[in-house]
């Protein structure tokens, strides 16, 4: 595959994917609020345009470099994540033998990006959001690491291509039933959504986003949506067999299957973010370390026993 075509396709996918997430968000919001959906297809574009034409704000003596770079870093991380995903059975844009470890690096750098976004404004609300996000964003990463290691056991490899191949008989979502639900929690945290929205939350008037306006805010919001796409593609690859299709399909249909499965995960992610309440950070820390993390241990042991020869 030509590298330029691949990059262009990824860019298109991220734009289209972000738009799809925004559409899902509108549908979910309308369903939960019991109201008509309104401007569904053009709505996200209109909102994005209104961000782009509004003027950029500047706070009092910010850390100007990081203030400018944080949204871009978040966006780049979303792109790196999606570049790791094998779109067909022949491989991914970035095909390295330690794929899930690199995804882990994307997760941890996301915490850095969100922290810098909140820190660099030199304002109270973003600062509180940043620190609170670090508290919850770090331990949830441990959960996701256990879940991904469990998925690597039957594949005998850390490469995402091999993990896809290992699901030819049975998808991981069935073989390791704890995996996808726990991984979805990480997705909520990575995209600052609903029950894991500790950074950009309502009790901080938008948190790390509270002092933003104009095109940088558009980039930040696009990055959030893109990260949702990236995460969902990753979840579809690790748990739903990625580009593997039913027996009657041909291998060329791989990208289509992956796109469909990604959309399913996206729908789950959006639904969870509109339906579930967020708890105070202290309570969430306790839940994470004493319930969710041990639960991921159990998942790993179960996956180990299942995969043992």
């Amino acid at each position: 595959m030509n590298a330029a075509t691949a990059v262009g396709a990824t860019l298109l996918l991220m734009l289209g994917g972000a738009w799809l997430v925004a559409v899902f968000d509108r549908i979910a919001a309308a369903l939960v609020a019991r109201r008509p959906v309104g401007s569904l297809w053009l709505g996200p574009l209109q909102s994005g345009a209104s961000l782009l034409v509004s003027r950029t704000n500047q706070t009092e003596h910010p850390d100007a470099l990081n203030w400018a770079l944080a949204p871009a870093l978040y966006l780049v991380l979303a792109f790196v994540g999606v570049a790791l995903v094998p779109f067909s059975t022949s491989g991914a844009l970035v095909d390295i033998p330690a794929g899930i470890v690199l995804w882990g690096a994307v997760e941890s750098l996301t915490v850095v990006a969100v922290f810098l976004h909140g820190w660099s404004a030199n304002a109270l609300f973003p600062l509180l959001g940043a620190y609170r996000y670090v508290a919850v964003g770090l331990p949830i990463m441990l959960v996701s690491m256990f879940v991904l290691i469990a998925a690597a056991l039957p594949a005998q490899s850390l490469a995402l291509g091999a993990i896809v191949q290992s699901q030819a008989g049975l998808w991981n979502v069935v073989r390791q039933p704890l995996g996808l639900p726990l991984f979805l929690l990480l997705g909520l945290s990575l995209t600052l959504r609903g029950p894991f929205n500790y950074a950009d939350s309502a009790d901080l008037a938008g948190g790390t986003d509270a002092e933003r306006s104009g095109p940088p805010r558009a980039v930040w919001q696009w990055a959030r949506l893109s990260m949702a796409v990236s995460f969902s593609a990753m979840a579809a690859t690790v748990f739903l067999g990625g580009p593997l299709g039913p027996a009657w399909g041909t291998a060329e249909l791989g990208p289509l299957w992956l796109t469909l499965k990604t959309a399913v995960v996206l729908a789950l992610l959006v639904a969870a973010s509109h339906l579930l309440a967020r708890m105070p950070p202290s309570r969430m820390l306790t839940l994470l370390w004493t319930v969710l993390l041990p639960l991921s241990f159990v998942g790993l042991v179960a996956a180990g026993i299942e995969a043992a020869p």
């Binding site: 850390d63 033998p97 470890v101 850095v112 810098l116 770090l138 990463m141 850390l158």
Partner: protein, 226 residues
């Protein structure tokens, strides 16, 4: 591979330059947060060099580990350092003769190690499974090292909990504790929790609260050591 300069060479030199430059910037910035993440940038460039050396796991794991560790380091540096955001100008280098000496020794040592060790001259085989080999090693000869690392890290966990948490099964940890002196045998650096439990002597401010609004004692002052 007979080209005078290959893409790999360019990548190596670029990454090396980033590593050195950002490493230097760590010590010339005023902001603790910037210093932490510049160090992260330096490590990431080194990790990129490891990827060039066909060590994918070590390279990627370095990025992963250093991202979270520098994040935690930034949290702690901001917590405990004066002027954490570098609002006032300050110097990040202290004890310069000692530091220069240590730097020169480390540089000579590492250079000697590089120059004297037999470097491989054959490229790694394309189908070499480095991660697999690492796993086999950990379950084979290095098993003992691996498990003792586990126990060592457990003791690190317990030690960090003991040192850092105030609460515990047996009540608050600070009654009777005394911060270290500013000089040997001198006055404590902060306040002693047992004395004057009403207000902090944080930075030598005198306090009297004749007219303070009556507070519902939900723990504002009550939680101080008995």
């Amino acid at each position: 591979m007979n080209d005078l300069v290959s893409g790999i060479d360019i990548a190596f030199w670029a990454l090396a330059a980033i590593a050195v430059l950002s490493g230097w910037r760590v010590f010339s910035t005023d902001s603790m947060v910037r210093a932490s993440f510049l160090l992260l940038l330096s490590f990431m460039a080194v990790a990129g060099i490891m990827l060039l050396l066909a060590a994918p796991y070590i390279g990627v794991a370095t990025i992963f580990m250093m991202a979270v560790e520098m994040m935690v380091m930034a949290v702690f540096m901001v917590m405990f350092m004066m002027n954490p955001a570098g609002l006032n100008p300050m110097s990040m280098v202290h004890q310069q003769p000692l530091a220069i000496g240590a730097g020169v020794v480390a540089f000579i040592g590492l250079s000697a190690a590089v120059l004297t060790s037999p470097l491989p001259d054959q490229p790694v085989a394309a189908d070499h499974r480095a991660i697999h080999a690492l796993g086999i090693e950990m379950l084979g000869d290095s098993m003992l090292i691996f498990e003792s690392a586990g126990v060592a890290l457990l003791s690190a966990m317990i030690g960090s909990v003991i040192l850092s948490s105030r609460s515990g099964r047996f009540g608050p940890a600070d009654p009777g504790s005394r911060p270290p002196g500013l000089c040997e045998g001198g006055l404590p650096a902060g306040s002693v929790p047992d004395e004057n439990k009403n207000h902090g002597m944080g930075h030598g401010m005198q306090h009297d609260t004749p007219n303070a609004a009556p507070q519902d004692t939900h723990g504002a002052h009550g939680a101080q050591g008995s």
